[in-house]
Subunit: 273 residues, 2 copies
């Protein structure tokens, strides 16, 4: 996807909402378990109910891999459905991959070409040659972990490295890589005060912000400190939307929660015009 | 697998060889492409030819994911074949996963329970709560990236953090995590001089050493500075073994290369008794 297409969608829908498809057979409504592919049936219903409020969908690959072949099949059906029925939405494979060059090329091929995702999340620990193979793909985006929203983020990411925190070093270094204009970053919303520092290093990049809602982040702070003139934000909600109800009305409940978040976003997005 | 079973295998076979199954349809012998599942057919032939010289097998998941559903099926067949025919070998899913706690639990379930691997590789960037869900599994091992063998290792891993290099901080911090006795570490063999420092921090842990051979590491240095009284090493070779020949004699050529490496290892392993 071209970045302008994403920005147009954001303006049109007045939303930067990303719906996280962390689909779990133990949590979806019981009546769906009779379906041939309960995971896909659930995802399809969620997508149909929420797409007018959301600009991105993010299946977390762990939830699909946990069901083996059957799960991988549900993931394929989900991305195919998104690409066929809603080609305007931005798709994210939340896979957190990263390996030596020839291996990262394989992952990039798997997610960008074979599955047809617009973007994939990656981990930075192995450095430049583990990420550049992803960046080589035109009109595809690589969303690299920078500052995550979990407690373990403080183990290494916020530690001082050469007088600056590791996550800042990661951000600054990554801007020197080839096709760094295709980078986006994962930035945890529970640390909105860090957004000022982050925007000094990467003013233009899109930030994928998890952790609004269930993980405790404040949406208003994210907009205040993280927004730029293209919005520059994708704010994710997973469980808060997809498990808003565990009954037969789950899709309606998901839509209501997505709409509630979209309305909160709209007020901040007015200024984009 | 119990760690003693691995150590017994090492002593019996006088080998710490791990065979990396980075199976690529563009590189396997052409005649195999007529098989129903060429990837599995190749892996099976390689395993049958090399298992007397190797104590571990390591499919790199990227190579399987790159072929979508069909690739995932080949991975399942490969691990099932290893577990049924060669239950004594140690199996490694080289997946480099890591995510927030409930997601890491999913990956752990996928690789340890559903697929039945003995171990999985993980990335440390997200810290403690991204790794401990893997460590919770009894008689399973988590092989965390510490110092990798690629050029990008110098981007972050060897940078000074609070007066010490990041990879040392990662090693030291990880020893405080619950069930850290189930941790092993990826340590690139191209930096054998670092092994002295590493062994000061984690004297007892097993090290998975890639990069001997194609990536230029020296096996003798790895033994000199990395070996402990349980051997404490798994030395990987992927392309050097599995693509030793691209003709119909590929399995024999793989066996010959595996045997050559095993013989080189045996001289260092004599002292284990």
């Amino acid at each position: 996807m071209n970045i302008n297409t994403l920005v147009e969608q954001i303006k049109k829908k007045k939303s930067v909402l990303c719906v996280g498809l962390d689909t779990d057979l133990d949590k979806i409504p019981k009546h769906l378990l009779e379906e041939e592919d309960p995971i896909f049936a659930f995802n399809k219903a969620i997508i149909d109910a929420t797409h007018q409020f959301a600009v991105a969908y993010k299946p977390n690959t762990a939830f699909y891999e946990a069901y083996g072949l059957k799960g991988w099949e549900s993931l394929e059906k989900t991305i195919n459905y998104l690409n066929e029925k809603h080609p305007d939405v931005f798709t994210i494979a939340d896979a957190k991959r990263g390996d030596i060059g020839n291996t990262s090329s394989r992952y990039a091929k798997a997610f960008f070409e074979d599955l047809g995702f617009d973007s994939v999340t990656t981990a930075p620990y192995m450095g430049k040659d583990s990420i550049e193979p992803f960046l080589a793909f035109e009109e595809k985006f690589t969303i690299m972990l920078a500052l995550t929203s979990n407690p373990g983020a403080f183990d290494f990411q916020t530690q001082q490295i050469d007088g600056t925190e590791l996550y800042k070093k990661v951000l600054a270094t990554s801007t020197t890589w080839e096709h760094s204009e295709r980078l986006m970053y994962v930035v945890g919303a529970t640390k909105a005060e860090f957004l000022v520092n982050i925007r000094q290093i990467i003013p233009d990049a899109f930030l994928l912000v998890p952790g609004v809602g269930a993980q405790g982040g404040s949406m208003d702070e994210v907009f205040k400190y993280g927004m730029n003139d293209q919005a520059g934000l994708l704010i994710n909600s997973s469980r808060g939307i997809i498990y808003a109800s565990s009954s037969e009305d789950f899709a309606e409940a998901a839509a209501a929660e997505a709409e509630r978040l979209q309305k909160q976003m709209a007020s901040h997005l007015e200024k984009l015009g």
